[in-house]
Amino acid sequence: MNRGPAYHTPLLVITAVVWVVRAIDAPPPVAVDFSFTENAKAAGLNQFTVYGGTRTNRYLLETTGCGVAVLDVDGDGWLDIFLVNGTTLEGFPSAKAPMCHLYRNRRDGTFEDVTTRAGVGQGGWGQGACAADYDNDGRDDLFVTSWGQNRLYRNRGDGTFDDVTARAGLMNAKRRWGAGCAFIDYDRDGKLDLFAANYIDFDLANAPVPESGLCRYKGVPVACGPPGLPGGKNVLYHNKGDGTFEDVSVKSRITTAAGTYGLGVSTLDFDDDGWTDLYVANDSNPSTLYRNNQDGTFTDIAVVAGCAYSQDGKPQAGMGVAIGDYDHNGTMDIFKTNFAGDTSTLYANTGKGLCDDRTFQSGLGRNTRWLGWGVAFSDLDLDGWLDLFLVNGHVYPEVEQLKTDFGYRQRKVVYRNLGDNRFEDVTDLLGPPVTTAKAGRGAAFADIDNDGHIDIIVNNVNDTPDLFRSKAPEGRSWLMVKLVGRTSNRSAIGARVRAVVDDRVQVQEVRGGGSYYAQNDLRVHFGLGNAARVNRVEVRWPNGMEESWTDVPVNRILMLEEGTGQQRRSQ
């Protein structure tokens, strides 16, 4: 959370390619053909997320908010929702302490609160959540990070979870600030390992306070940090396959990253070598791109590759991260949300191990007032091009004391992909509820009602959540692919999927983590325009095997099991 970027927006480009750019004249956007409704309350998502002070925040601890994960708890093919919850400095009597909530999808547009029965109603300073089947038993498990002790919940398969944190070897020796997390099979042994970013090595007793006058935002005293506070060290746990994990943070060299203050996390295969990498959006520090060295270790290549800083070489206050191939060149691009007064950042993956910062050229450099958190690339209008949906909200509630153009509660921002490497801001055209101001934080992107349209669950600070249901134009087709690993990890995290329709190819991945503090839908979604069929679906499984399926019908959720397709090759 960079306090006060310079009056010019900082951006950095590292590229050998000369870009011919044309002026962005910002013509008004054409009418938008997709829309959103919001009906969290009606759907039964009524958790009130308590998180820190409502008018002032004494410490940064009270600002990060909570995340959300989608997972199929009961294996019925309908995604359930887990909302993390927090607390306040003053605390609560135990009977009244806020707790996380698990909502079972009733498959009729509504959800049932099954928290207590499920045994996942933890309290405390909950942060993020990620989900996947770490023990390959066919059931999605859940990992919740905290300022305190992260927790691993193993799905028993009967609607209940078992807190196996201690048994699994995941207890912290001291209090840590777990942030974004992701399941990842980094060594391709078929078992999901676990990565968690750590934000700040935070000690309440020795933290500076706003009344010191040292920390001000536009003249108003606010919570201090993160610059000046000791940074957290990320952690990687190797899944030993027996229900336990080993902390391999040092061995794997993830602790040697250039930056710290990690928040949003996503897996991705940046260099398309079949080995899953990791991207961490860092706050006020260069972001981290852990390249998988294929030998159990990682190297942070973000600075060298040009995915760490702004175009003009400055660290940004990175929060959330979105991964997707927005320009259809077959590589995974990175989009990061940042602080107010700065733009978001679009790093186009050149395919040569480099990022090319195309924020301005793509038209994404025009919004600096909003402070971004949860985000994803998602084909909202099903035209085959990935759009962007950002969730915003200011860090400091104290900003309400200022007469600003923005406020603490902020609108979402939606960028429509124009298909020519550019985006346009269609937020105003969408209107409410997208323009309804909320203090948004974690956001999970998922097809909650299995209608082929991506929905968004947002965990708002000191508020109830939002459930945005998207509606794409009639007549546009889609395909949802659920991968089931057999030799590869069952959740197929790390798999790469290509959908080929005539001469158009879309590439997607199954990813752990994503957005801010969230776990997105593990199923892979393709918008297909007016295609009647998909010529070919190609899958590269996490273990390297490649298969394909041909002549795939559209407008359905397609479950593909490893080993059942036409084999192409193995890596």
Partner: protein
């Protein structure tokens, strides 16, 4: 009595009286001249009191004609000439008075002050120093000397003189004003605010005091008070464009962009040719993401004042942000033409050039940027990356290491500041040992943090470790000369 007319007539007198007699006669004549000069001097003073400046000047003129060495008369004549707007003549008479009688305080003071008013800062210093030596308790002499020292860049000495001035004359508003401005320059913002507040309270009509107070309050972090001060000033002096400009700038810093736009727009309605207002309007619009309007305002600012380097620079940033790279490069070049030592402009031009593939020129510009501003971490980072692209691996490594060092230093400085703050809290809570630990941590992180040493001195003094406390304070004072010794230390 025989008068001795000048020239040959005296020879006659000598001839008639003999040598001794002539000498005696000359003595009598001189005495009479002196008496006459004194009488004219007194007449001049009477005329001055009666506010008859012309009459006074005439009397003084005649006095110095009678007695050219009458220093006091030269001084008064200079004073009256000055009052009549005849500054050159005034200066000449003051200088003459000083020449004749260096120990005449009034002459030294008048000469020094008048030279200051005529912007002869160098020439003002010696007479003012002399004046202060002659009358150490003269508040205004110290005031002027303080002004001169500050303008000559001797901030610490200036502060010393101005402090003495206000000590001698606590209601001397201009001295409080100048002391406030000096302390602001020195880094003692708290002290600056206090004296500027005093200046404004003593003389509410002082626009300068209130303007400076507004800016100092903003600097001290009290944005609300800054805005209120400047708003009140604008209400009281609606034609004062400086106040409006400062108000707009303060609103801009406080992110009240709509308010800032309103103030700048109003200012431009009153003064359409105000380039700074146009520029700041552009800045406010840019921060509102109103890029097209911002661009128009910035271009207008450039038209109004071609010498402003910031306007083309910010225009360049707007163009860059809206992906018009070639135009952005031109704008940055324009900024550099106006101010070659504009490090940020060199840096941004280099950034654009690198994006355009012009690596060689980009490297040269990055190098220039860091030469101008050696603490620019991003400059070294970008330079390193560009050198890598050129294949100059060793130089690249060196630049990247420097970037890393600078970033670490910045981070440590912030951590040091926080450690001091935590230490203060512990000290306040009675945990001196904990406080001392925090201060030592702060010093380890940033040995040049004056507050860390200063607060350590306080904590150690409280524990009776006077020697160590004194050493800590001495270090603090070296780093920040404005610091005053805590109780028990010198």
């Amino acid at each position: 009595m025989v008068r001795c007319p000048p020239g040959a007539a005296c020879v006659l007198l000598v001839g008639a009286l003999g040598v001794a007699g002539a000498a005696q006669q000359r003595g009598i004549e001189r005495s009479r001249e002196q008496d006459s000069a004194q009488a004219l001097f007194l007449l001049g003073q009477a005329k001055e009191r009666a506010k008859d400046l012309a009459g006074a000047a005439d009397a003084y003129e005649r006095a110095v004609e009678r007695l050219p060495n009458l220093a006091a008369a030269h001084d008064r004549l200079g004073y009256v000439r000055g009052q009549l707007g005849q500054t050159d003549a005034a200066l000449a008479h003051f200088a003459r008075a000083v020449e004749l009688q260096p120990g005449l305080f009034d002459a030294q003071y008048h000469l020094g002050a008048t030279r200051w008013w005529t912007r002869d800062i160098e020439g003002a210093r010696r007479p003012l120093e002399a004046a202060v030596r002659l009358r150490p308790d003269h508040a205004e002499a110290r005031y002027y000397l303080g002004l001169v020292l500050r303008q000559q860049g001797q901030v610490a000495e200036a502060a010393q003189q101005l402090r003495k001035s206000v000590g001698l004359s606590p209601r001397l508003a201009p001295a409080h004003l100048q002391l406030g401005v000096t302390l602001q320059q020195w880094g003692d913002i708290g002290g600056a605010v206090a004296h500027l507040k005093t200046a404004a309270a003593i003389d509410p009509s002082s626009v300068d005091a209130r303007n400076s107070l507004g800016l100092a309050l903003m600097q001290s972090g009290d944005a609300e008070a800054a805005i209120e001060t400047l708003r009140q000033l604008v209400r009281d002096h609606p034609d004062d464009n400086t106040a409006r400009l400062n108000l707009g700038t303060t609103l801009l810093q406080k992110a009240d962009l709509a308010g800032a736009v309103e103030v700048f727009t109003e200012l431009l309605a009153r003064d359409p040719s105000n380039a700074l207002a146009q520029y700041n309007l552009g800045m406010a619009l840019k921060q509102q993401d109103r890029f097209e309007e911002a661009e128009r305002a910035l271009r207008r600012a450039i038209e109004l004042d071609a010498s402003l380097p910031d306007a083309p620079f910010t225009l360049g940033v707007v163009l860059w942000q809206t992906a018009r790279m070639a135009a952005a490069a031109d704008a940055f070049r324009e900024a550099i033409k106006k101010k070659d030592e504009f490090a940020d402009a060199h840096y941004m031009l280099a950034t654009v050039l690198k994006q355009q593939g012009a690596i060689d020129e980009a490297v040269a510009r990055f190098q220039r940027a860091v030469d101008l501003q050696p603490t620019m971490a991003e400059g070294y980072l970008s330079l390193g990356q560009a050198l890598q692209q050129q294949g100059r691996a060793n130089e690249a490594r060196s630049a990247l290491e420097q970037a890393q060092k600078l970033n670490q230093r910045k981070s440590d400085a912030q951590a040091s500041t926080f450690a001091v703050s935590v230490g203060n809290r512990k000290l306040q809570g009675g945990d001196a040992a904990g406080a001392i630990q925090q201060y030592r941590t702060a010093i380890k992180l940033a040995p040049d943090n004056p507050q860390a040493h200063y607060r350590l001195a306080i904590a150690l003094a409280r524990r009776g470790a006077i020697g160590e406390a004194q050493r800590a304070f001495d270090t603090a004072r070296t780093l920040a000369p404005y610091l005053q010794p805590p109780a028990g230390l010198r």
